[in-house]
Symmetry: C2
Subunit: 361 residues, 2 copies
């Protein structure tokens, strides 16, 4: 077997080794059923137990109040970009968005199919290097949508805005389960699994009861309506079983390690290792995000030249640090430090970057 | 490890053991990359190679002409039930459907969101026990939709109707890649993976160039438009990577074994074993489907009483024949004999059923 690399990809991304080993061990014989988890009927009690346990663990680890439902849906956040406005739009009332980069932009684009969209604030003036803090909540809006972490710019919204009676909708795809959330501020939160939870192909939607009630007032295609998935327990059709199963194993691993208090502390420490390196590099490494908006999940930075960036990515790869190239739309470098990235990996990367600077300054 | 059972579930369903073993063997180290296939970026060349090879294998094995595109999409057939009419509806022209049971009904229901739907023929008069053969094609229709195999009734449409200039759309979820198809009759064919191809969570859409052109005339949400997925090579967003990967391994296995000629012959033999048993049981086992419409994939039958059916399902399960209970909406028994079901499994099931009859007649 090849040496396990440190995988800094922005998603799909590194997963807990323990969860992967468990999945491998029982891949041909899921819980003694004599078949793979990829083969068992989703209606079989052994699979229902997987879905139920994964749902319960998300509620428990995230501290989600009882008036929220947890849905496991097909597709990625890109699917929710059009499902959510279709469910939550209200006649004659705008849908409001904060524009923080590529992912917010994609969400805004799809919402326009379903009514008027107002962008309340944008950080486009500074190439999406910060999360806007000053804007006025539109009290008339159907909802306010934010992207809690932008993987491309490397900016994050740790504390959510207090939107009062206006429902707050959060795309938390890239910082899901990475720190505690004040659920009193949230109406709906969704996240594609492939960064902080499990493999690609499933999206978790955490939806407050009143938003389900709003969806019930709409005539929607069956698969679009959140009410369908609440009523059918995410089993209206065959769910993406394997993605849910592997997410469960990752959730169990997270709980065993200490849940949110543990992972928040670890994520802060990991991010600090790299930001400290950047800040102490005498400008050799330049952070892309404004310090007050720095993401703990995606550390974006530049080197003195594109040539040096290319060289750095290539040398890092040769040493087993994979996926450090920035998003193709912005260039530069990016280290994604999702929940499953080990502190050891980040420290070793920092050592490599220090040495690279010495050799190439 | 537990003994491998014979899995007759209607889907998710049995998969080729060789493919499962390969996936298990490299689960922690995909192609020597030092990471799981569940962790690698979908933009990495090693994953692109998976998608490309799986696409090429479907084209090759199915003999698909060059003017069709192969798309790998999130979700199940239920997702396509609303995506396809949204892409293919034409102003002032009806969408036509043949109603053959629960799956056709679900497809019809969603199409009604996007325009007028006409049901040209239905087998509801005989509890969906046959595929209607006599109906007039509506030359004005945007398309005609059929469900090539109904898993609940156990009926199948081996030869597709000649619809002339009216585009034929086929939900082939439950008999995908199980026999050769006359592609000159098909405009779009789609199939959820979890019966004949791979694990749940991905749907293959095979779409003719003129249907893509039609989709381009529409203003659609990005994820709904077939044009998006053609233009982005099924990579507009992160695809369900693991489901595509395991489908590739199953496709390789199918090709090695002899492709469509091999699998069609095998599927005919497997179905014949059970239908012969049913026909020779002096009425103890009663086939549900009309003989001229019998599915090779889902063999549906009844016993003299529901009590005997329950007993039969339970005794079969104890002997390692899993998933023989009929769909909850119709009751009875059902043996699903998808591509990966071994002839050995079907023969052993037939022996068991013969013995059960002797002991319980």
């Amino acid at each position: 077997m090849g040496k396990r690399v440190f995988n800094f990809y922005a998603g799909p991304a590194t997963l807990p080794l323990k969860a992967l080993k468990e999945a491998k061990a029982e891949f041909l014989d899921f819980r003694g059923t004599g078949m793979s988890v990829c083969e068992i009927s989703h209606r079989a009690k052994d699979f229902q137990a997987v879905l139920d346990e994964a749902t319960a663990l998300i509620k428990e680890i995230y501290g989600i109040p009882a008036h929220f439902h947890i849905l496991w849906l097909h597709g990625g956040a890109s699917t929710q970009f059009f499902h959510l406005p279709w469910n939550l739009a209200l006649e004659g009332r705008p849908m409001t968005y904060i524009h923080t980069g590529s992912w917010a932009e994609a969400a805004i684009k799809e919402a326009k199919f379903f009514g008027e969209v107002k962008v309340l604030a944008s950080s486009e003036d500074a190439k999406f290097s910060y999360t806007p803090r000053k804007f006025e909540i539109d009290r008339d809006a159907a909802y306010l949508h934010i992207t809690s972490n932008e993987t491309i710019g490397g900016i994050e919204w740790i504390e959510f805005p207090d939107t009062g009676a206006t429902p707050l909708v959060v795309d938390a795809s890239s910082d899901f389960l990475s720190h505690p959330i004040d659920w009193t501020r949230v109406a709906l939160l969704y996240a594609g699994a492939q960064k902080n939870l499990g493999p690609a192909g499933v999206t978790v939607v955490i939806i407050r009861e009143d938003m389900v009630a709003r969806a019930r007032t709409k005539k929607l295609p069956t698969m679009v309506s959140y009410a369908t998935h609440v009523d059918k327990g995410s089993m209206h059709n065959t769910p993406p079983c394997f993605a849910i199963y592997l997410s469960l194993l990752a959730l169990k691993d997270l709980k065993e390690k200490g849940g949110l208090p543990y992972i928040e502390k670890l994520n802060k420490r990991k991010a600090k290792v790299l930001y400290t390196l950047i800040d102490n590099s005498n400008g050799y490494y330049k952070g892309v995000a404004r310090p007050d908006s720095r993401s703990r999940m995606n550390i974006t930075f530049r080197l003195p030249s594109e040539q040096l960036e290319e060289k750095c990515v290539a040398e890092a790869k040769a040493k087993g640090f994979i996926g450090l190239k920035g998003h193709r739309s912005v260039g530069g470098m990016r280290a994604s430090l999702y929940n499953a990235m080990l502190l050891k990996g980040v420290k070793e990367l920092a050592t490599f970057l220090s040495e690279f600077q010495k050799a190439n300054a």
